[in-house]
């Protein structure tokens, strides 16, 4: 009998016919779980939403931006009620070396009004809001409760979960696992069989208090407008990247790195954050910020090829549990994929219950809905990108190349005549030992993926 949730938990087999106490059990009140529970409750079926933290969001961390377009389908006029810090009207990609920074900076006021695009929000606010929506529709949210393992029928179908509450067995027609990046339930159900393991990166973040008017002034915004900066080349050669986002009266700054790379470089993650905060391009933006919260979380960044099976008998997997974080250079998204997947999982569960077939075949519409939507569409299209983006050249060589190229272009060196772009490019490539064929091959992978 599993007492605690962890790797290697085993399912308990129920020999008597399950009592079917509820129609659906959703494990994890993150964005995926709450969206799933909301859809099931809305369809008039009974649903219990388990959360191991004392409140939804207690165990969750993210970079800081949620892209809300998928909410159009789930919560009409969501922007009037979502607990938002700032609306992102300015997005920057900063490519840096220890002494240089080349920034592509884009702003549009189109994202500063309905129907909006991206927003910064604290997870405790956002997750609480989404879980509250499910609760209003009739879902029963049970916090402070760990699903410690699966209940199975003699035939192996999932028929519920065991929890760490007294008499904590909860039987259901469908279990939806939204139990996060470590997803012990998906592992226990055998959904990762044959998949490469351990494609996770470690995100480490500081939330720094700065007066609202200081944030406005430093980031060049007013009102509820906000900024999202993604950074490449700030992780000391360890595969990963950095981020800097504005909240209302604070900023979130941090790095995302391959955890194995830290030991190889004998450096700790908070030291990388400190280095990033000291960078001449970042220091003027964050200086004097008082640390409000230090946090960290794992991120499933492996992409499409590392996803588990998504449908089993009586069992669906969604969100981080299904590795649905998109880490593809200019796109770093997760909450929107989690909401989309959770919504479709909830709908598939409802369809299967109505058709009285909650087997793998009966739940197959989940996979179909995901395939037809951005959730698997984007992931399939960008399946080669994690390998490209986390490779040595994109991580170190290209940031240095681009910064030196920019420096060469902007540097005024008269009385010598200005060098042409191609001459400059050849010179900089030679400095950094970059072969034309590697650059071409990476460009081709990029064009095939992003094009």
């Amino acid at each position: 009998m599993a007492e605690h949730a962890g790797p290697g938990t085993r399912s308990a087999v129920i020999t008597a016919p399950p009592q079917r106490e509820v129609d659906v059990v959703v494990v994890g009140a993150g964005p995926a779980g709450s969206a799933a529970a909301l859809e099931v409750a809305r369809a008039g079926h009974s649903v219990v939403l388990l959360e191991r933290g004392p409140y939804p969001g207690a165990k969750n961390v993210y970079g800081g931006v949620v892209y809300g377009r998928v909410l159009d389908e789930l919560v009409p006029r969501w922007w009037e009620q979502m607990p938002v810090q700032r609306w992102v009207t300015r997005r920057s990609t900063m490519i840096m070396t220890p002494t240089q920074a080349l920034t592509v900076d884009f702003r549009t006021q189109a994202w500063g009004g309905p129907p909006y695009n991206g927003a910064t929000a604290h997870r405790s606010d956002l997750d609480g809001w989404l879980a509250g929506l499910a609760e209003k529709e009739g879902a029963v949210v049970v916090p402070s409760t760990v699903a410690t393992g699966l209940l199975r029928s003699a035939e192996g179908a999932v028929v519920g979960v065991r929890t760490d509450r007294p008499d904590g067995d909860l039987t259901a027609k469908v279990v939806i696992a939204c139990d996060g990046v470590n997803s012990f339930l998906a592992k226990e159900a055998g959904m990762f069989a044959g998949k490469p393991a351990g494609h996770v990166t470690l995100g480490v973040k500081e939330t720094l208090r700065l007066p609202r008017e200081v944030v406005d002034e430093r980031f060049g915004v007013t009102g509820r407008d906000g900024v999202d900066i993604e950074i490449l080349g700030c992780t000391g050669g360890i595969p990963g990247g950095g981020f800097l986002y504005t909240n209302l009266d604070s900023v979130s700054v941090g790095v995302v790195v391959d955890p194995h790379g830290l030991a190889a470089r004998k450096i700790r993650p908070e030291e990388l954050v400190a280095e990033l905060k000291r960078h001449p391009a970042v220091e003027p933006l964050v200086r004097g910020g008082e640390l409000l919260e230090y946090s960290a979380h794992l991120i499933p960044e492996g992409g499409y090829d590392t996803m588990p099976d998504l449908v089993g008998d009586g069992f669906l997997v969604a969100g981080d549990a299904a590795a649905m974080c998109l880490a593809a250079g200019i796109w770093l998204e997760g909450v929107n994929f989690a909401i989309g997947a959770g919504m479709y999982a909830g709908r598939a569960a409802v369809d299967a219950i109505r058709a009285k077939d909650t087997s793998k075949a009966g739940l197959a519409s989940y996979r179909r809905m995901l395939d037809e939507s951005f959730v698997l569409g984007d992931h399939r299209k960008l399946r080669r990108v994690p390998g490209l983006v986390l490779g040595q050249r994109v991580q170190q060589d290209y940031p240095a190349l681009l910064c030196d190229l920019a420096q060469g272009l902007f540097h005024v060196d008269n009385p010598r005549p200005k060098p042409g772009l191609f001459k400059l490019m050849r010179r900089v490539m030679k400095w950094h030992g970059i072969k034309a064929r590697d650059l071409l091959s990476d460009a081709l992978t990029g064009v095939r993926s992003f094009g």
């Binding site: 962890g6 165990k59 969750n60 470590n182 700790r268 908070e270 230090y294």
Partner: protein, 96 residues
């Protein structure tokens, strides 16, 4: 350094924990003694793994983020016994 970085204890004091009586992660220091990589010492964002002078690893579970990094990077067979804390206990991020 152009301005002071918080000491690690001050950093951790910004995070709320409801510490459970049960240690949800345990470490077998005997196994750690033969470890050459000690990835956990560098990768644990809460700095919970501390090398001891006799080559073992000292671990405390109280201020754990429950991220799972340690069991992902640990190369020692059976050095770590890893579970989530019981319901309601452990870390509670206010911002996240």
């Amino acid at each position: 350094m152009s301005y002071g970085q918080p000491a690690f204890d001050d950093r951790m004091s910004t995070v709320d924990f409801d510490v459970a009586e049960r240690a949800h992660i345990t470490v077998d220091s005997e196994v750690c003694r033969s470890c050459r990589t000690t990835d956990c010492v560098y990768a644990c964002p809460a700095k919970l793994f501390v090398p001891t002078s006799d080559g073992g690893i000292l671990f405390n579970y109280e201020q754990c983020f429950e991220c799972g990094t340690c069991y992902q990077v640990c190369s020692g067979n059976g050095a770590l016994s890893w579970t989530y804390p019981d319901g309601g206990h452990g870390v509670a991020f206010r911002k996240g």
